[in-house]
Amino acid sequence: MAEAAHRYDETMPLEYRTQESRLNILGFWIFLGAEVALFATLFATYLVLFQRTGSGPTAKELFEVKDVLIETLLLLTSSFTCGLAVFEMRRGRLSGLLTWLLVTLLLGAGFITFEIREFIHYVHEGATMQTSAFLSSFFVLVGTHGAHVSLGIGWMILIIIQLLQRGLTPRTARKVFIVSLYWHFLDVVWIFIFTLVYLTGMVI
């Protein structure tokens, strides 16, 4: 952080210009490394427990294909629109950036809505977090991802407000860039959830 202004680098993209920004972006990558370890642990837990269904339903009996497909579609698209937002930012177009961020946010909210619906549906079928080890690990793994997405939505709202207040500055650009890293990461995690939890669960 020291010497922030000294090391201002005009040649870099806006989000990398200050020393502080470069440090923050690197730190966030490392944080994502920790998040990988966190989700890896949750996946390992799920894989260990997923056939231990006790007296509750199995994955095959439970999972709803339709909701999950819609969720997947929404989240993957949002990752794409998030990329478009950063693309617009690199071209220096605030309005394009804001539009795509907003679209991303709405798609994310759509994802969460469907996920909540899916969970409510399971609970109505009597499949709760308390029913079996399989369901505990399912709800905690998928729920942790969902909580991350919700947090990301809140975070994006804050950044949109700051963009409206302050415009595109090295600082706001950095924030957009970091939230986009976070968003893409959640997308990758979802792909693993989709294959390891849902697809595998519907086959085995």
């Binding site: 010497e3 440090l23 080890a133 950044i159």
Partner: protein, 648 residues
Amino acid sequence: MKWSEFFVTGEPLIYAADVAIVLTIIGIVFVLTYFKKWKWLWDEWLTTVDHKKIGIMYIICAVLMLFRGGVDALLMRAQLTAPNMKFLDAQHYNEIFTTHGTIMILFMAMPFLIGLMNIVVPLQIGARDVAYPYLNALSFWLFFFGALLFNISFVIGGSPDAGWTAYFPLASNEFSPGVGNNYYAVALQISGIGTLMTGINFLVTILKMRAPGMTLMRMPMFTWTVLITCVIIIFAFPVFTVALALMTFDRLFGTQFFTMANGGMSMLWANLFWIWGHPEVYIVILPSFGIFSEIVSTFARKRLFGYKAMIGSIVGIAFLSFIVWVHHFFTMGAGPAVNSFFSITTMAIAIPTGVKVFNWLFTLRKGKIRFTTAMLWSLAFIPNFVIGGVTGVMLAMAAADYQYHNSYFLIGHFHYVLIAGTVFACFAGVHYWYPKMFGHLLNERLGKWAFWLFMIGFNICFFPMYFLGLMGMTRRMYTYAAGLGWTPLNVVATIGAVLMGIGFIVFCYNIYYSARYGERDMTGDPWDGRTLEWATASPPAHYNFPVVPEVTDLDAYWAMKKNGNGYEVKEEQLEPIHMPSNSGRPFLISIAFFIAGFGLVFKWFTLAIIAAIFIILGLILRSFDDDDGYYISVDEIKRTERLARKGA
């Protein structure tokens, strides 16, 4: 919930503690008010983002926790001195060994080392602060309030009592009703978040903020060990985060992760715990290795022998530390193939460790050795740690471990590595860097008294435990029968524990004595040091270096002294220095964490949610905060530097 359940009642020891706590609080409030120090406390400490002050606060807390954990230890030794003692009952004994282990590892050893690394690493790499000073303050306060939450358990609600390993099913609601293990799950979670952020912070600091010329291969060994430790933290702590979260879910919301019915799997806890837990023991030993390396090289007046081999072995140890965890439960019967694999990986750790031992020995060879207190701790470390390591290799033989496991032999092993490794390193580091922290030296005479008392006491206390273990005494038993032949060695062990306690008291007295009569360090370089922290004043101005030093060699400051006049600053070179602003928010957010944690412990969810809202509010305010720090003008730097020199 009734008040009589809320406050722990019925134990004279606890009532005494209640009184002591109330008196201490009244005392602190009185002193602060009487001397009008509240503003000072807030401005200088509670809101500081200066890595040196944060480091000092870490160390103060760690010493307090060493005291608390030490009292636990003495209570246990008192109970075990003779057969059939009635001093503590079984429940109370369970609580005490649980809090002892948890506190010593998570609230004493790790914060002590994190404190030293806060103080030393930015100075060693010629930086003005860490990469994220604000986050650093938050890390500290989360640790602080996590530790506070854990520590109030023994007067409010009851202590955890399932061991520091908190194995299931013992730690489940069924076998551990009450809130004790909720404290364990929640308090460790809060301080663990702080540790993870420290790991990220120091990794970026070391990678990105080194002075010009300091390539990776010119980095001081302590900084190297911290770098690798950060990597371990970043990959190990998330596992603990998850394990604790699942424990919390099981205990508070009735999930079935580790239960005995509905598909739960108690072994999963043991695995998750040790996937974090084994790397954790290396998190507390690697920086210790770094401290010893610095001290040995300084007081042997020689460059560290085998610098590259040293780095290679740290990296090797870090890697291996992730693939040995099953050695903690060979006896749970994973089968010969699995046990053999983990047996071999465990033994393999002895190889890089052995390389390091020889490196220290060769550094000493033909050195002009000065036997300062810091050096005594470091020299004592080598043979004592080797005893711990050798017994570790014995435990690593899966078949033999069926005999040793969970006996006093194991207790002997891990105390020989943790005390002779980490605790000796903390003492060594404190004596070595004390002048840098406070501007005066610790008294050497008292320091040596403390050293000999503690070191001899340590051996008297723990060496007999190997034999007690071989004689069949198992760990965590609160009493034993008279005819087993264990009594003499237990008496000896208790005597050793008392000596260690006296050593600790002498150490604390030394802090007081040296503050009053200690020799001032006017030069900034009392030991004829080799690394950059000795180039600047003691204590350094809060910007550390008026001009960022240029590094041309490993042992950067030594090279400056040999090739010229050391680190010289010409007033023309000065430029305004940018520094981060203080902030009270990390402190306040951490209080909210404490309250939320307290709510979770007692399942007062409304309270927890309200506190959580305050946490989120704190984060939002941070997001909108665009304080860019401030500049220290050249005039002010000149004034500070002239004052520092006039002192000299």
